[in-house]
Symmetry: C2
Subunit: 352 residues, 2 copies
């Protein structure tokens, strides 16, 4: 951040929406507060004319209407979704793209039909190994005009909980969340969950389009092939305590007992623990995990009782998961500024 944010980055920051962190207080994020990252323009889709095409290495290509999809077996899942670029504005040296600080997250109840059975009904052809999802959003990125499109291993779709979702929090998807239908892959970073879904194509290998080959990979330089991003790394975030200052977002807390509350999630494994530090990460104490019964794919709640003493403090939180992943104290760097899950640090002034 030492160089400041450019006009181009500001254009992205003012059109893409973050979760104001006090909205972590809701188990399920109200529609309109969930984070949104839109690569191109939000398309307006005529649901009556729209069809979902299933093609490629299948025995029967199909074109399904929204009514036909809604008539299929339905599942509702509470899912926490985070952008792979969350935390990007904190990495050094500076990486130019959507400049998220920490707010690219949200939890919603998504209703839809599982992807796996639909693929099996279409009949998987010989050599089928990957599945491409293509959206109706179109634009230019890296000099290439493209429909937004990404593929997933077939095994993830046959064994996992991926949905074709048409409702969020009990209402039809609003335009910005992918109306009329989107992919929803629990546990993975948000780029996987293709919005405004138009086509599902079964392939005999991974798709090598721009969003697979260039974006969403951990690379240290342009010549490196790199590792594709997939599951969300653990992260804990707190509701910033006390009152905010409008301009600086600095927090003012009255001395005395102060409950710090927050959420934690990981796409790799269950959350194992959350720790809180009130001295900038020098010392840590365990927070209490609270069950909110949202299921495996949504964030866990936690709380921590702090006896706030007058003075300046830096309150931090960090999560670990059952696979042994722990949030780092300092931001990791890579070319895309992805997967920065360094601990949140909230400066707090405690007044007597």
């Amino acid at each position: 951040m030492s160089e400041g944010i450019s006009l181009e980055e500001l254009q992205l920051a003012t059109r893409n929406h973050g979760l104001p962190l006090e909205a972590l207080q809701w188990d399920v994020t109200p529609v309109g507060l969930h984070y949104l990252l839109t690569h191109y323009d939000i398309p307006a889709v005529d649901a009556g004319a729209w069809r979902l095409h299933v093609d490629g290495l299948v025995e029967r290509t199909v074109a399904l209407s929204l009514e036909e999809i809604r008539a299929r077996p339905a599942v509702e899942l509470a899912v926490t979704m985070e952008c792979a670029g969350n935390g990007r504005a904190h990495v050094e040296p500076h990486v130019v793209s959507q400049p998220w600080l920490l707010e690219a997250v949200g939890t919603a109840r998504w209703r839809g039909t599982p992807v796996g059975p639909l693929l099996e009904e279409a009949g998987l052809g010989e050599g089928a190994s990957d599945v491409l999802f293509t959206g109706l959003d179109r634009g230019v990125e890296g000099g290439e005009e493209q429909d937004y499109a990404r593929s997933l291993p077939l095994s993830e779709l046959l064994e996992g909980d991926a949905l074709l979702a048409y409702e969020i929090n009990g209402v039809p998807l609003p335009p910005q969340h992918g109306f009329p239908l989107r992919l929803l892959v629990p546990g993975w970073y948000g780029m996987t969950s293709v919005k405004w879904l138009a086509r599902i194509t079964v392939l005999d290998g991974p798709f090598d389009g721009y969003q697979m080959r260039h974006s969403y990979r951990i690379r240290m330089d342009e010549d490196e092939e790199g590792e594709p991003l997939s599951r969300m790394q653990p992260r804990a975030l707190m509701v910033p305590p006390g009152l905010p200052d409008f301009g600086t977002r600095a927090r003012i807390v009255r001395a005395g007992p102060c409950e710090i509350r927050g959420r934690a999630w990981s796409g790799e494994a269950e959350i194992a623990g959350v720790e809180v530090s009130t001295d900038g990460g020098e010392t840590w104490a365990h927070a209490e995990l609270v069950d909110t019964s949202l299921g495996r794919w949504a964030w866990r709640s936690w709380r921590f009782q702090w006896d706030a003493q007058p003075g300046e403090h830096e309150v931090c939180c960090r999560a670990s998961d059952a696979a042994g992943n722990v949030q780092p104290l300092a931001p990791p760097w890579n070319l895309g500024g992805y997967r920065n899950n360094a601990v949140q640090r909230v400066p707090v002034t405690v007044t007597a």
Copy 2:
């Protein structure tokens, strides 16, 4: 923008939400795409325990439940609301606050009960001249801890169309729009429409709190009293044509007929006309105004047929209203970076 945006401004930009400009295509902005500016934190309000208090220079103080307010005569109004700081990031020298470019606007159908009759039923006391609206959002601004609060002249409330609104687009207000009740003052900049309304207090003069005395005034230096902001100045915005580049938001249009569409509004008077320039403001032609039957307080639609020739263009639009107000070509400056309604300029590459 020459200096870049600071971390503090980025914190505001990522938590406050702009309207992605392609969303101008919807007559009524879908919930979740309307702009949002939250001074402090979004409060979570228990609607059962909540009451609206009416006090001050009234014959009968009252405390109304949400059910009692919903039982009163109801009105639905389509209202375009814009932040007084819209356009701030374009002014020079740079003004530090929420760095809006052009996206701090939205149109919604608000349902609620008129304010005027409620005040008259409470019985206006002698000398009553202004009415203070106090929200449940609390924080620090300019070194002052405060509830967000602003007053309006009584005449504006008795004669105008101000509502106490409890629904947006047919659903209860979501938390971020002021649940359970907000003020809605058609034609005025958004700071007037106090969210999370807790108290209405009849006064014998204008309130002189921070949001009246310091913020939301046109001042050229700190010592000046300045002019309070009130009604929205005219502005036209277009749906950026063609396809976007993800990072730069530059637009790519195929040569040939291209319809430019947009919206225009003014809180001062009806929109009288919209003009479009495709050469950066050198020459202008009239756009066609289209009736969308949204009523006096919502934006007008317009369209313009452009025969796009290959090359680089700067497409601009500007509105004028029936009171003779016209958008300026260059951003006006003032201390708060308010009311910058300079024309929108969209660089477009037309490809053969």
